[in-house]
């Protein structure tokens, strides 16, 4: 590994909650940029999974136009799922997580900061990459816009729900497969509404209600998921 070792910010008694969250967030971003390959892998995976469909099913423009949005959504979902293993694993292995649990600041807020950092480093790049892949999948212009919007609202939900699964399976054998088994059922509603929005938009139907529902998912996940992952983390820590 190159570069200086990352200093763990002193998240201590005198630090405000917001300060602690910011420190955790910045540290995660800094650590991620020291390991650039880990940042790149989910994106490469995303592009490759999308590539499989025209080659494996059909390169016909009519098929891709109809299925493209769904394929992009599924691929984004899978690459978020793949990246979740990193969310707590390294911090768990080197003991950082234990220190976070011991902080006086509420754990769920620190977990929220970690999850937001995770989204910014995996979900957001996926959204930025989507227009390019959308064009390759022959999506019409306004569909690409809506698709990006749904992914922008949807990927943080995926990260937040995923953090629960990552916390539950922390330190277990075959955690990767188990994580997918636990989390995919919970991802299905997000996927349904995400692709439903794009389908409605391509038929010219109003999408306001769909987007409002996705926003509701986001706020529900934002308020409840950190509690669940924080308590799951405590359970997993006491287990090891």
């Amino acid at each position: 590994m190159t570069g200086n070792p990352v200093r763990v910010h002193p998240v201590a008694e005198g630090v405000s909650v917001a300060g602690a969250m910011k420190a955790v967030f910045l540290r995660d971003v800094k650590v991620a940029f020291r390991q650039r390959q880990d940042l790149l892998n989910p994106l490469l995976f995303f592009v490759m999974v999308v590539t499989l469909f025209p080659l494996g099913v059909s390169p016909e423009v009519s098929f891709l136009r109809e299925a493209g949005a769904g394929i992009l959504w599924v691929a984004a979902l899978l690459s978020v799922l793949l990246s979740l293993d990193h969310l707590f694993r390294h911090d768990f292995d080197d003991g950082t997580l234990e220190q976070l649990v011991l902080q006086p600041q509420p754990l769920f807020l620190l977990v929220l900061a970690k999850t937001l950092a995770h989204w910014m480093l995996t979900g957001l790049p996926l959204v930025i990459l989507t227009p390019v892949l959308g064009v390759m999948m022959h999506q019409p212009g306004n569909s690409i816009g809506i698709l990006c919007l749904t992914l922008l609202i949807g990927t943080p939900v995926l990260s937040l729900i995923g953090s629960i699964g990552a916390a539950l399976t922390l330190g277990l054998r075959s955690a990767g497969v188990l994580l997918s088994l636990l989390i995919i059922p919970l991802y299905i509603p997000v996927l349904i509404f995400g692709t439903g929005t794009v389908a409605a938009a391509s038929e010219g139907a109003p999408v306001g209600a769909y987007l409002a529902l996705m926003g509701a998912f986001l706020f529900l996940a934002l308020t409840l998921a950190p509690f669940a992952s924080a308590s799951a983390l405590k359970i997993s820590m006491s287990n090891s």
């Binding site: 669940a228 799951a232 359970i235």
Partner: protein, 247 residues
């Protein structure tokens, strides 16, 4: 009241109660289920639209009903596990999850068998069917997580968190037939309204639902007893119990 609560937490006390309760649960459950199913399958009138094929409702509705209510019971037990750390609640979740899985599978299977003659297809990606499929996955996830964690206490608490997170699916299943336009018909029983079927149809249906509840109670007791014996194998009362069974 509090004494009762404390007793409820004692596996030994529960074991004794369950032993006394189980024959009754089995007899009443079997009688109700048999009455409901035989009445429904052989004597209830034909449906004017679906003919005889509707009769699978007498198996489909009870299993689907139980599949959801077992999950709700598990969720209640999960809260009890997390808040009061009561051993029995955790034993219940562990014992009952596979039963829920099987019930969900049966509901989906009988639904598919019913769908073929009435809708002309085994499966459609309709909201009700999909949300039941998600329920099946959730049961699978609960069982998988429980098996993956070796430590009994952490397993209990981790599984409880997962069960509670999965509860979001229950209202989706319940209201899927009302929120979306689906092929699936709306609920058969509602607490607030009179059933839309004639009494010769809904009475046997109600009997089989109740019967299956009793059978489920019996099965839950049986599986919980097995789990309790396994967990408490080092205690004196379990040793005495096992030795007393020997000739």
């Amino acid at each position: 009241m509090w004494q009762f609560f404390h007793k409820l937490g004692s596996p030994k006390w529960f074991y004794g109660i369950a032993t006394r309760l189980m024959p009754w649960l089995l007899v009443v459950g079997a009688a109700l289920l048999l009455a409901g199913v035989v009445w429904g399958l052989a004597f209830a009138p034909k449906d004017y639209l679906q003919g005889n094929s509707y009769r699978i409702i007498f198996i489909h509705v009870p299993t689907a009903f139980l599949a959801q209510s077992v999950y709700i019971m598990m969720a209640v037990a999960a809260v009890v596990t997390l808040v009061w750390r009561m051993k029995l609640a955790d034993v219940f979740v562990k014992a009952v999850a596979p039963v829920g899985l099987v019930l969900t599978f049966l509901a989906l299977f009988t639904g598919a068998v019913w769908g073929k003659p009435t809708w002309g297809t085994w499966w459609i990606w309709d909201a009700r069917l999909t949300s039941m499929l998600i329920l099946l996955f959730l049961y699978g996830g609960v069982i998988a997580l429980d098996r993956a964690i070796n430590d009994e206490k952490s397993a209990a608490r981790a599984v409880s968190v997962l069960v509670l997170v999965g509860v979001v699916n229950i209202p989706i299943i319940k209201y899927s037939v009302e929120w979306w336009n689906t092929l699936h018909q709306p609920a058969t029983f509602k607490l607030t309204e009179k059933p839309s079927m004639p009494a010769e149809m809904w009475v046997p249906l109600l009997l089989s639902v109740l019967g299956l509840y009793f059978i489920f109670g019996w099965l839950a007791c049986l599986r919980m007893q097995t789990e309790i014996i396994f967990r408490e194998q080092r205690t004196r009362w379990v040793k005495d119990l096992v030795m007393a069974g020997r000739p």
